[in-house]
């Protein structure tokens, strides 16, 4: 079956009574920050100039990781030891 995804009509939103959920979930793609892909096309070039570029890129990556770690710190559950110890499930399926 041929499915043409571009020709699909936009789906209509129907209220679910939970409009409040949207802003949190609704990190629309356009609002997302773009993080450069690792191992991308730009490998920093060669030579001294390339070395500087690489160092700069390394610094940027570190800053990004630092920012991520800070964000995680804000939301990570406290009392991790207690928390993971108490997470016990019954087997399923």
């Amino acid at each position: 079956m041929e499915i043409d995804i571009t020709a699909r009509p936009a789906r209509r939103h129907v209220g679910t009574g939970d409009a409040s959920l949207r802003p949190i979930f609704g990190a629309a793609e356009s609002q997302q920050k773009k993080v450069p892909k690792r191992g991308g096309d730009d490998d920093g070039g060669k030579g001294e100039e390339g070395g500087q570029k690489l160092a700069k890129k390394g610094k940027e990556l570190k800053e990004e990781m630092d920012a991520l770690v800070d964000e995680i710190d804000e939301v990570l559950e406290e009392n991790a030891e207690e928390f993971v110890k108490n997470y016990v499930q019954r087997g399923g399926e």
Binding site: I24, V75, L76
Partner: protein, 494 residues
């Protein structure tokens, strides 16, 4: 010629309640599922008459008691949603079975919509809990203490393809596809070798190659033969080997590559014998090796890495596809499959925005480095668990997504719409639209039937043995011309 791969997923979620010393998983699941309200809100039974989970694909019926709850319990544990999904209590877990879809893009949309349905219900349920108590849900597969719950995939297959052939050609694929389908786990369990971090949530739990069981002695290939469709024409391959994935890219590739391989099996296009000497051991060896370099022993005597085995499947898939006109989604699956296997060979960490187990690992390692932690640290175990947390503001997968660190496949708008709209091109459309339009008259539902109780007449059950019929094209006019369920039944008979 392979039949269209109609598919869906069934996800069991982890559940816990904080601040309630009397927490009981089953009553919490019932509370959760019933906290979800849709407009049709009728009391609809799940129609167990149509079920037979004890039929084995190898051609026999297993002894055992079939579960059939009484009516009240049935209604309390089962919800059929207007998007065509089933949302219910399965043992001690809430479970979301997506509606049937025809392509992996729709599959991603509906699996992600399921996450939101669970999160909406969680918030509603919290309002009903005692002060200070709150519920948490996790889209994962293990509590890291030896208890596992499943994420199952279903694919429609041609009954004419022998189950023996399916097993033979699928086993090496299932053992190795975790390299791009794993959700990642800190440590090991179920008496498996100790390790810091492994690729799959589930690999430690597989103890046998082929069997009907899903709860004990879990098999890599499950033999449940319950097609939920015309038995003579179809089988439903019930896949239990997978992990619960959060990454859209991972879900897309997981189901996309699998559907393609199944079509190839139907068309006799698996031309290589890649049988492994010991699949149960190999699935664990591959999982315990995040460098993706460990070699697995083939029956032929050769040794290959999981990525090399996957590359051979890809090579056969490219050859298979070269003689066919492909839809854009399948083309995209092939492109992504090729890209991912290349990256896994160079450096798996290149996939830190695409593949769940790599995304999780990169996040944990970044955190460990900054905080000088090691793999045994409770905080590291917390990061693992919280990656799967369904709360948009707390779940670490969602945090990565907001940060632009998760490559998307679909849009938030599409996911949001799928909470209340069924797919248009399968029988899920008919199911969902009947609930929207004739909700109070619907008496019972199963995947392949819907029954109405209208105007004191005897209950009428409409059978839907063809998963591709009941689509919008087929039934839109019928639904428009039937104002009531009684008229619908009359028009169907005409």
């Amino acid at each position: 010629m392979a039949i269209p791969k109609v598919m869906g997923t069934e996800l069991e979620y982890g559940i816990t309640v904080k601040g309630d010393p009397d927490f009981d998983p089953i009553s919490s699941c019932v509370l959760l599922v019933n906290a979800y309200r849709e407009d049709h809100a009728g009391e609809i039974l799940w129609d167990y008459d149509q079920e037979n989970p004890l039929a084995d694909a190898r051609g026999f019926q297993v002894d055992g008691e079939k579960y059939t709850p009484n009516q009240q319990e049935n209604i309390a544990r089962n919800k059929t949603l207007v998007n065509g999904a089933r949302y219910y209590v399965d043992h001690a877990h809430p479970e979301y079975s997506s509606p049937e879809v025809t392509n992996v893009r729709d599959l991603v949309i509906h699996e992600k919509a399921g996450e939101r349905v669970l999160e909406i219900s969680r918030r509603e349920a919290n309002a009903l809990l005692p002060d200070g108590a709150y519920m948490l849900l996790y889209k994962n597969n293990s509590d890291r203490k030896g208890n596992s719950y499943g994420s199952h995939e279903n694919y429609l297959m041609d009954r004419r393809t022998s189950f023996k052939q399916i097993v033979e050609h699928l086993m090496p694929f299932f053992v190795t596809r975790q390299v791009y389908a794993g959700a990642g786990k800190v440590g090991s369990e179920n008496r498996s070798h100790p390790c810091d971090y492994q690729i799959s949530q589930r690999a430690d739990f597989f103890e046998t190659e082929v069997a009907l069981d899903t709860m004990v002695k879990r098999p890599i290939i499950n033999t449940r033969d319950e097609p939920h469709a015309d038995r003579e024409k179809y089988r439903r391959l019930h896949v239990i080997v997978g992990d619960a994935n959060l990454s859209e890219y991972t879900i897309f590739l997981r189901n996309g590559a699998t559907a393609l391989v199944l079509s190839m099996i139907e068309d006799g296009a698996i031309t290589r014998n890649l049988s492994l000497r010991d699949p149960v051991r190999a699935i664990k060896d591959a999982s315990h090796d995040p460098s993706c370099t460990v070699e697995l022993q083939l029956e032929s005597g050769k040794r290959m890495t999981a990525v090399e085995i996957q590359k051979l499947y890809l090579e056969m898939a490219l050859q298979y596809s070269s003689t066919r006109s492909l839809d854009p989604i399948t083309k995209d699956v092939l492109r992504k499959w090729e890209h991912v296997l290349g990256a896994l060979e160079r450096d798996p960490m290149e996939l830190e925005q695409q593949i769940d187990w790599v995304m999780k690992r990169a996040m944990i390692e970044g955190f460990m480095q900054r905080k000088s932690l090691d793999w045994d640290s409770p905080q590291v175990q917390m990061l693992d668990l919280q990656y799967h947390d369904l709360r948009p503001d707390k779940g670490l997968y969602y945090l990565l997504e907001r940060q632009g660190r998760a490559e998307r496949i679909v849009t938030d708008e599409e996911i949001q719409a799928a909470i209340v709209e069924p797919p248009v091109d399968t029988r899920a459309y008919f199911r969902g639209m009947c609930l929207k339009k004739y909700g109070p008259a619907v008496f019972g539902v199963n995947w392949d039937s819907i029954s109405f109780s209208a105007d004191d007449e005897p209950i009428k059950r409409i059978l839907m043995a063809e998963p591709l019929k009941g689509s919008k094209v087929h039934v839109e006019e019928l639904l428009q011309s039937s104002r009531t369920a009684a008229e619908l039944v009359k028009n169907l008979r005409a």
